[in-house]
Structures are given as C-alpha cells and as structure tokens.
C-alpha cells in the first residue's frame, strides 16, 4: 500500500527516518517521497539520514511557550567531537527524562503551538501528494508533548483535508519514564484513537530489555516497528512484482483497519535452507514419498507453525487476541515454498484463536527470498492490560496535578460524562434492533414457500443470509444500517 508518513516529535521523526532508509534498502516503494516530519525542538533533525531539509518542519519558532535550544547545547551534546555522525546521533537525543526544550513535554502547549502554526503546517503538507498514496500515517511517541499535542492538531487537519484513511502509529511510554509521559499518553490515546481511521500502538515497556541504554532500546524498538510496518504496507509493493494467486491488495489492509480502534502487529520468520530442502525433496520424489512434502521442501506443518508463531509472537502491543475484531495475514516468501494446506490451516487457526470470522489472508511471492515471514494484523483489539495500566498511572498523576489545574479538567470532565452516558445507551439499542431484524430476515416460511414452488432453487437458498440482488436494494440496506 502506498503510504504517506508524517512524523511528529523525536520518536516520530526517528521512526519515519528509519522507515524510509529500510524502504530504500529493501527495494520496496511505499512512501515514494511522501514524507514529512514536525517538531518543536530541532535537535533530532540533525540525526536524520533520509529526510530532506524542506521536509523537516520546526514549529513554534516564535511562540513564547516554546523554549529554543541554545546553539551551545549542540556543542555540549555527548559524543560530538569524537567521530562519525551515526555515533553522535544515537546517543545524544534519546532520554527517559523530559527536557525543557521545545514544548517541554506539555501536550496542551503542543496543541496550542500547532493551532497557531496551522498556516505553516498547511504549507508543509502541500509537499505531500495525497493522490499518490492510499493512506497517510501519523507517527508519534504518545507520551510526548510534541507527539501527542502537535499530533492531535495535525491529525484533525489531515482528517479534514484527506479523503483517504489517516492512520496513527503511536509508541507508548515505558515504566522507566516519568508519570507525566503516561498522563500525556493516556490523553493522547483518548484523543487520537477516535480521530484516526485506525491506531497502531507499540508498547515501549513490553519491548524494553532491562539493561539497554535508552538509545539502544529505542533503536531496537524502532527497528522492530519498521520491520513490521514494511512487511505490512510493503506487501505487493516490490519491483518487479511476482505473480500471486492470493495477492494482498491495499483494499485488504484498509478493510481490516476500517473498523477503527487500536491495532497491533505480530510477526515471525522461518529461515530457509534451500539447498538442503531441495535435495531432500528430490530424494523423497525419487523414493515416491514426496506426497507429504511440498516441492520447495516446506511442509504444511511448518507454514502453520509459522502463522501460529506470528500470532503468539510479542505483538507490538500485547493484548488478548480474542478481542480482535478483524485480522489480516500476509505470508511472504519464495512462491514455491508456501504450502497451500499450511496457508489454509494457518488462516483457519487465526479464525479459531481470535474468534472472529473476518480474517483476510494473502501471499506475497518473493522470488529468491531466503526466508518466509508471516505478518498478522489484529485490528480493533480492545482487551489491552497495558492501556489500563497507563490510564491508572495517568489518573494518579492527574489527581495530583488537578489541584493546580481546576478549570480545564473539571469542565471537560462533566461534558464527557454526558457524552459517555449517551454512548452507553446507543449500542444497546442497536443490538436489540439488529437482533430483531435478523430474526425477521431469517424467515422460515419464506424458505418453505420457495421449496414448494421452486424445488430447483431450494438448494441455493438459505433465507437467513441475504442474496446480492442487482434489482432490489434489499441487501444494501443491511450495509447502510451497519455504516450508520
């Protein structure tokens, strides 16, 4: 799927940068230059490798609440003198603490700054050609004042000007960070998820290894994120494309995500030892025993296991997989290795394990690949312990700070209380209506009738499911109901 990437804050900038460099290295064309990064503190811009200067936008330059980094700060950055760009870059800007530069971690300042700089934001967005892409993704650390604050305003703007879906990729803070990051992240989730067409989340806590430096930790996570995003959005965007029987097309991904909410990604790979396998397969063929093995030497069990591994792998955001609403599976690898039986049983396994029937699956044949990868998207997962945890942390932080901050918090709270009560009633009513409608539709009499006067059609008719009828719009009422 062609995708425009908009990074916000340090995390967003770094992830977009890495995405583009990996995209180039793996010969896929996904962003085709449609990238942009925004920040309120420009130090991280110097670390970027692939983002042209005119696509790095510094906001709040003249805003009083934004603290400019003095030039000397650069000079004092840790390994400055000692050598190569790469070294300096990846230790200098990563930290678990909140520094005072830019918006100093405050999302409300971030939002205010972005509102004030909307003309500049719009000018920058002109550099993205929406007609070239199927979707746009806003990338940010949700604990960031810039990421969540500027990000919220940017997302509103993107929603207003783009017809295509706008997704969010958000990193959740780890427990090593200040409570204020959790508060910002919890509010960020609350703001961004309803605005976005879908929100991919990555939990920095789940992906952290105890002893790593902050820089190493972030780099590893970013690498893992980019690998998964490339597997997902890059499927079918290779040149030249191999012929596929069950190709994943961008509509498969957008349909999986169209339910909204939070999405998470699982991923697993299987290294191929081509020579061994070929020899083995040939041997079996010679012995007339080749029935159990595919020509490429990868049997159904391996493929099924790989799909299970992807589902059970560390998801970008760990969650109860049974809470998934829709699922997408992409199997990528040399065309002669993807066992049909393995693919089918693996896909069925996803349906069973996630308890949803909306499972889309496709393959991406990559001639000459040395591994097979399974990528699984779980869309609209709702049982996510880490989000509850962040909310609790945020609330305890919040109650400490509300004493100084009466008006905003108190005022909006009661408004939202009302909204929520309405929301709680609505779905119930829809549920009853739907069930009743469903029972009426499943008209047994009608079915019997058709059996009597038209036996030849009995076979095809099951009146509990509706036909696609080109003449009446009956079946499309069904869709309309759902859309509303």
């Amino acid at each position: 799927m062609k995708l425009a990437l908009v990074g916000v804050g340090d995390a967003g900038t770094r992830i977009v940068d890495r995405f583009v460099s990996r995209e180039q290295a793996t010969g896929r064309s996904i962003t085709t230059g449609n990238i942009l990064v925004f920040n309120t503190d420009d130090r991280v811009f110097e670390d970027t490798r692939t983002i042209p200067e005119e696509r790095r936008v510094l906001l709040g330059d003249t805003h009083s609440a934004v603290k400019r980094r003095p030039d000397s700060a650069d000079v004092s950055a840790s390994a400055e003198g000692k050598g190569g760009d790469a070294d300096r870059v990846h230790t200098g800007t990563h930290a678990d603490t909140i520094d005072s530069y830019g918006v100093g971690g405050d999302p409300d300042v971030g939002a205010t700054v972005a509102e004030a700089d909307l003309p500049e934001i719009r000018r920058a967005l002109d550099q993205i050609d929406e007609t070239e892409v199927a979707a746009t993704m806003l990338v940010a650390g949700l604990g960031g004042g810039t990421g969540s604050g500027v990000g919220s305003v940017l997302l509103e703007e993107l929603n207003a000007i783009y017809e295509t879906p706008v997704y969010v990729l958000g990193a959740l803070p780890s427990t090593t960070e200040p409570d204020r990051r959790a508060l910002t992240a919890a509010r960020g989730i609350r703001t961004l998820v309803p605005l976005a067409d879908a929100t991919f989340l990555v939990d920095n806590e789940a992906w952290r290894h105890g002893t790593d430096s902050v820089a190493a930790r972030h780099n590893n996570i970013n690498e893992a994120i980019v690998t998964r995003l490339l597997a997902l959005f890059g499927a079918g965007e290779r040149d030249p494309e191999a012929i596929s029987e069950m190709r994943v097309d961008s509509a498969d991904l957008s349909r999986t995500l169209e339910v909204g909410g939070v999405a998470t990604i699982g991923y697993a790979t299987h290294e191929l030892d081509r020579d061994d396998n070929d020899l083995f397969a040939r041997l079996l063929q010679l012995l007339g025993l080749s029935n159990d093995t595919d020509d490429g030497g990868v049997d159904a069990a391996t493929i099924k296991r790989l799909i299970r591994q992807a589902l059970e792998s560390k998801l970008t955001l760990p969650c109860a997989v049974t809470s998934a609403d829709r699922v997408l599976l992409i199997l990528s690898g040399p065309p002669d290795t993807i066992s049909r039986k393995g693919f089918e049983t693996g896909r069925y396994l996803l349906e069973e394990e996630t308890t949803t029937v909306e499972v889309l699956a496709g393959d991406e044949p990559v001639s000459g690949a040395t591994e097979i990868t399974a990528t699984v998207v779980l869309s609209n997962v709702t049982d996510i312990p880490r989000i509850d945890e962040i909310q609790r942390q945020a609330v305890s932080m919040h109650s400490l700070s509300t004493t100084d901050d009466h008006d905003t918090a108190g005022g909006s709270d009661s408004d939202l209380g009302d909204d929520e009560r309405e929301d709680e009633v609505d779905p119930d009513r829809v549920l009853t209506d739907d069930t009743a409608g469903g029972e009426d539709d499943g008209d047994v009499d009608e079915n019997d009738g058709s059996e009597v006067d038209n036996t030849n059609k009995h076979n095809a008719a099951d009146s509990s499911v509706e036909a696609f009828d080109g003449e009446t719009d009956h079946s499309f009422d069904f869709e309309a109901e759902r859309d509303e």
């Binding site: 939002a111 919890a186 703001t191 069925y348 949803t356």
Partner: protein
C-alpha cells in the same frame, strides 16, 4: 456450443483464461468472446489469453477500491459494478450476441469482487439479451473461514435466482496434499476447464463429421434448462495408436468380441466419470436431468457402449431424462466422457457453507453492535477523569 464468457474477479478471470488455454491446446472453439472484469489492477494483468481491451477495471474511482480490490467486501463488489455498469455494458456492446448460443459468467464466490459484482453483471446481460446465461462459480473451502462462506452463501442465492444454470466447483473437493498455493489453484483450474470445455464445446464439429449420434448444442442447452445447481463428472482414457495398436489388431481378429470390450470400456468410463470427483460432490440420484458427451475418435465410441452407459446413468441418476452424444475428434488419442448432472438438489457442501455463513453473519452482527462501545471503554479511564487534548 458457442459462448460469450465473462470472468469476474480474480478466480473468475483465471478460470476463463484457463478455459481458453485448454480449447486452444485441444483445437476446440468454444469461447467466441472473452471479457474479464476486476477491481484489482494487478489481478487484471495476470491472464495470458485475454486481449488487453477485453479487461475491464471497475471501481478505480471508488473511495474504497481505487484499483486495489475490495478486500473481500461483497457489498462493495456489487456497489462498484452498479456504478460502473455503463462501462461494462460498453465493452459488451462489441459482442455479436447472435453469434453465440449463451453467455457464461465465472466467479469465485468467496471473494468480494466475484461474489458481489457478478450478479450485477448478470442482471445487465439479461436486460440486454435473451440468450441463456450460465454461471460458473467456485465455492470456498471450509478452511477459508466464515467471511468467504458468508460471501458465497449470499452470492449463490443471487446466482441461482438469476442464471439459467449454475455450475458449481467445490475447492474443498479438489484439494490435494503437498501443493503450493500456486500449484493448487493451477491444478484445480485445469481440471475445471477440461470439464467445462469438453462439455460445452460439443456440438461444434465440422458438418462433414457430424454423424447422427453427434451431440447438439441444443441438447446441452435443454439439459441445462432446469435451472438450479449442476455438477460435472469426467473421465478419460488414453487410446492405443490407431493403426498398429492393440485395438486394430483385435479388430482384425474378432469384430464382435472387440465390440463388447469397447462397449464395456465406454460404460466403465461413464461410471468412472460419475463416481470420481464431481465438480461439486452431490447425490447423483438427486439430479433432474443428465447428459453424457463422449469426446474422442469416432471409431472408439461404441454405439452399444453409449447406449448401455446411458441406461446405467438413467438408473443411477434416477431420471428418464438422460441424453448421450458424441463429440467426434478424429485423430485424438484420448477418449473422454463428461457427464452433466443438472439441477442436483442434494449437495452437502452447500449446506455446510450455508451453516458456516449463518454463524459468521451472527458473529459479525454481534461485533458490529458492540464495536463503538468497546472502543470508547478502551480509550476512557475507569472514572473518565482524563480529558482529550483537542
């Protein structure tokens, strides 16, 4: 028979492509017109035997499709076909319909494009022409899951209500072990193309070759006239080379003994065709009408054999409406029998798909009903203390 063919969606297009490949390889001439329609630009590029200007991309301006498929959403498949129906009709305008006996529309019923768009296309064809329209539909396998089953169950209803006959192909009946995805579909498509082309191409032989036993297009159409769902069986045998082979040796020795072996062979071939894999497994006795085509060198088709095969099928299919005829293929080294079981009403696989579909539909409705509420409760803290940023 002479056909205009339309493949809708990925599977439908591949099937039409494969039918053309088979008829070219075997010197038949069935598909006088071929058209493929899809919502995915890349899938449209796949077939090898369809001219460029006979490939129609629909829905490329649709907000959700944009030339990249419909992601298994049959509602959108139907919607884009309706929106772009003028364009589809325009391409079909070139078809000299009086030159063909019928129109065949092929689709995979598990996906979104084929299952949703094909019924819309069929409606349009029927508005334009009086010729019969036949459906050729691929039923998804059990392991493809609930959504494909739901698409298929709904689309099957539309198809069967609209077409003059629906020929079903069950992907589950045709799975075999040790295949890659590519091999799996290729093999199935070859098997299906062989059956459908061998059946429908009969009756297109050279005037000079037509004996009184030749199958006629009108016989095939009469058998298909029942409506409902049909299944096709097939069996073939390699013949020894005509001149110096066993057959001719026996011919010289004992004419009548040879004839009875030939007759037994023919009957055996038909039994095999019915008892081996049908395109969709069914209770043979539930067939309304049946028809047998023997395709092969005329000298290999024993009249006695044809008659006893026909009688056998009459009792097996429990119907007096059984036609049998030849598709003489002089010089061919194979003898094939293809059996059409028209309007079979006991097809366990279709019942299974319908059950799976009802379960899927219920589950989808449940999910739809709670979706917004669940998202709200996820993003809101327990006491709703946290306020959004904007």
């Amino acid at each position: 028979m002479k056909l205009a063919t339309i493949g809708v969606g990925n599977a439908g297009s591949k099937l039409i492509d494969q039918m053309i490949e088979f008829e070219v390889e075997t010197g038949r001439n069935l598909c006088r017109h071929a058209l493929i329609i899809n919502t995915a630009r890349t899938d449209l590029a796949k077939p090898e035997n369809i001219p460029e200007d006979r490939r129609v991309l629909m829905g490329d301006t649709h907000r959700k499709a944009r030339g990249h498929g419909v992601g298994g959403d049959a509602e959108i498949g139907a919607e884009v076909a309706k929106t772009d129906i003028d364009e589809i009709r325009r391409v079909f305008d070139d078809v000299e319909i009086h030159e063909v006996d019928a129109v065949l529309v092929a689709a995979g019923l598990g996906g979104g494009t084929g299952s949703g768009a094909a019924p819309v296309v069929i409606d349009e064809i029927q508005k334009m022409y009086d010729e019969p329209v036949y459906g050729l539909g691929v039923l998804p396998g059990k392991y493809e899951g609930g959504r494909p089953a739901l698409n298929a169950a709904r689309s099957l209803q539309s198809f069967v209500n609209k077409v003059d006959n629906f020929i079903a192909f069950d992907n589950d009946a045709w799975r075999s072990r040790g295949q890659t995805i590519e091999q799996g579909y290729e093999e199935m498509n070859e098997e299906l193309a062989t059956r459908i082309v061998t059946l429908l191409a009969a009756g297109e032989v050279d005037e000079s070759e037509v004996g009184e036993n030749a199958m006629d297009s009108s016989d095939i159409m009469r058998t298909l006239d029942t409506g409902g769902v049909s299944s096709i069986g097939y069996a073939s045998t390699e013949l020894a080379p005509a001149k110096q082979g066993l057959l001719s040796k026996f011919n010289d020795e004992d004419q009548s003994e040879d004839e009875s072996t030939d007759a037994a062979k023919i009957k055996g071939l038909v039994r095999r065709a019915v008892n081996s894999r049908l395109t969709v497994p069914c209770e043979v006795s539930s067939a309304d009408r049946a028809l047998i085509v023997f395709a092969g060198p005329p000298e290999a088709i024993s009249r006695k054999g044809v008659e006893s095969a026909r009688e056998w099928l009459e009792s097996a299919a429990d119907t007096v409406d059984v036609l049998a005829g030849d598709d003489p293929r002089p010089g061919s080294s194979t003898l094939a029998a293809v059996v059409l079981l028209s309007n079979v009403t006991e097809t366990p696989r279709i019942d299974e798909i319908q059950n799976q579909a009802v379960d899927a539909q219920n589950k989808i409705r449940e999910q739809d009903a709670v979706r917004e509420e669940e998202i709200q409760s996820l993003i809101t803290d327990d006491d709703n203390d946290l306020d959004p940023i904007v």
